[in-house]
Symmetry: C2
Subunit: 351 residues, 2 copies
């Protein structure tokens, strides 16, 4: 099979972790006789520096015409300390989501037996956790009207949802639930927000099409609590953009290490795969960042392409590296650790 | 001293826990020679049943003219299963906050040495946690314009903030910080929301008035994560209504038991004190609910009245009851437990 994959390394540790994922994908491609054509493109602060724009048109063209996008991370401290900067790396992220129509951010949360003690949560609370949060990614308060009034003394943002946006995301949620434990939880704030009431109404109307799925409706504040108290209580969660932003980051605590958690952002034409961690500028260029989240994002990519064996093969070597302690320093507990590039080589060589 | 306290027992376990707080307050009043005049008033589902309104005008009059309000809980399952109900208990809560101008919800989070093992979090992560979340309570997306368009297929809510609303809350935050570890964290989503940028701008402009306070600015998604990973990293947090709703509930997980966490909602004229737990309908009428969160809310009331000794005295008996295991079943770990009313009597008798 021939695969065109847009490669957006981005900022900070992005390029380093992306490099390892490329090695691993190439090794899999070789083994299963595929041909991956990588199409590197600029994004984030790197793109601002080069062409003054965090998501240039050339990059969009490359992504829109690819079979999939593999993404590293964006963000640079230079912009964090300058809230007045007109062009910011994050804008590229939002523009990319919108222009590529990446409406569903899929974030699995699971634990690794060998790493369970790294979690701030007690083992019996989290062991066996296996949930997916589906965050709506191209609507809500991220893309509604916003501005100032009264000489700048009043600011407003609008959370807007249209029925089709909710349906599209909820459909994905029901489909995931059907393939899993058939439990779907819609998280909202319907006791206060009109947009949440539209969510509830829309999802309720869809229930009849999935009679096997048990649907529950919970408030975001309660879920922020329960997700930590008893994550095993959840299977598939669907929620709005802002609520998903908060819950997915919160859920990452369960696994104990951000360095392991992958994600995908699904569009109607093309989908994007990225680690959930950020650009981690303090580690950039040091060859110490953990590449596994990016490698596991490539697993999600192969799964979505129905290349199940290829996905399984990568998962197998990742588990092997964890079991044998061939890991970066964040997972080494003070023991022997390996460089980012060494872990990448090891994974590729073991395929 | 003479104190007029409006007493809003509300729904579910509200009346039971309120009864115990009254016993304890009366015992303290007797010991220190104060005169507390309790003014009971209807609220929540109880008020809907009686007069068709969750926060009747008579109740508002009583609250507005009191020195303080002691509040139980509101909410009834009858309304949860009927999203179309026109009058809902929660509306009473929002109306009360707005009409009484309760602009700052103060939620301390701390651990009790004797209960630390009840937390889903590991002991070393949470031991010594002592933080306060200040949630803005009368603005933001809770009170902005909302509605439907396009034949009901589009719904919107508006998050609006005015500079004075942010200043008023931030001032409380700086004042708390000055009395504590002098660390203030402003939590927002300034990389996306205009209202958050106004928060940041406003708080930044106030920094010069409190040169001793170290101020940090963090994004809500990151804090949802860090609050669980390392709660000891925070001292005073200030945040908008919706973000505070989520973070305060999330933070309650740290202590391991909602049954212990008090809160106050500060207004310019009168303030309200309430346990953070809800009406817990399953336990209503069974005399099993834990009254300590309500009793500790009364401690906050006395502190705000500068009745420090009285507050200390209640805190002392609460700690004594925990140390001696004179507790309700939720804290008894399968051992001997006592009824709600027995715990209340015990506390009052030990004052
Ligand atoms: C950088 C920021 C705009 C972004 C978001 O809020 O969506 C990030 O937090 C994420 O979750 O990808
Ligand atoms: C009942 C609900 C409207 C309320 C809120 O969101 O403020 C509650 O969650 C709270 O925190 O007091």
């Amino acid at each position: 099979m021939k695969l065109n994959i847009a490669l957006l390394a981005g900022d900070g540790i992005g390029p380093e972790v992306i490099d390892q994922a490329v090695k691993v994908c190439d090794a899999v491609a070789k083994k299963y006789d595929h041909n991956i054509i990588w199409k590197p493109a600029l994004t984030g602060a790197a793109a601002i520096d080069a062409v003054g724009e965090p998501y240039p048109d050339e990059t969009h063209e490359i992504c829109a015409n690819a079979d999939a996008v593999l993404f590293g991370a964006i963000g640079h401290p230079r912009f964090d300390n300058d809230p007045s900067a007109k062009v910011r790396p994050e804008q590229g992220l939002l523009k990319m989501r919108q222009k590529l129509g990446l409406f569903a951010n899929v974030r699995p949360t699971f634990t690794f037996p060998s790493l369970i003690d790294k979690s701030p949560l007690k083992k019996d609370r989290i062991e066996g956790t296996d949930l997916i949060i589906l965050r709506e990614l191209t609507g809500g308060i991220y893309f509604g009207e916003r501005g100032r009034k009264d000489d700048g003394n009043t600011a407003f943002d609008t959370m807007t949802y249209q029925r089709f946006e909710i349906e599209r995301l909820a459909k994905k949620g029901f489909e995931f639930a059907m393939k899993r434990s058939k439990k779907l939880c819609c998280v909202d704030k319907a006791n206060v927000l009109e947009s949440s009431r539209l969510w509830r109404e829309t999802v309720q109307a869809m229930e009849k099409d999935y009679p096997e799925v048990e649907v529950s409706y919970e408030f975001i504040d309660a879920v922020a609590m329960r997700l930590i108290q008893w994550p095993k209580g959840y299977d598939v969660i669907i929620t709005a953009n802002l609520f998903g932003d908060i819950l997915t980051d919160e859920a990452s605590v369960i696994a104990g290490s951000m360095g392991l958690m992958p994600s995908s952002s699904v569009g109607s034409k093309v989908s994007l795969y990225e680690p959930i961690h950020g650009s981690y500028p303090q580690a950039a260029g040091k060859d110490i960042a953990n590449p596994l989240a990016t490698v596991l994002s490539a697993v999600m990519l192969f799964e979505d392409m129905n290349m199940t064996e290829e996905a399984e093969e990568i998962r197998r070597v990742v588990n092997k590296s964890l079991a044998e302690g061939y890991v970066t320093e964040d997972l080494a507990d003070g023991g022997k650790s390996y460089k980012t590039s060494e872990v990448g080589d090891w994974l590729a060589n073991n395929i």
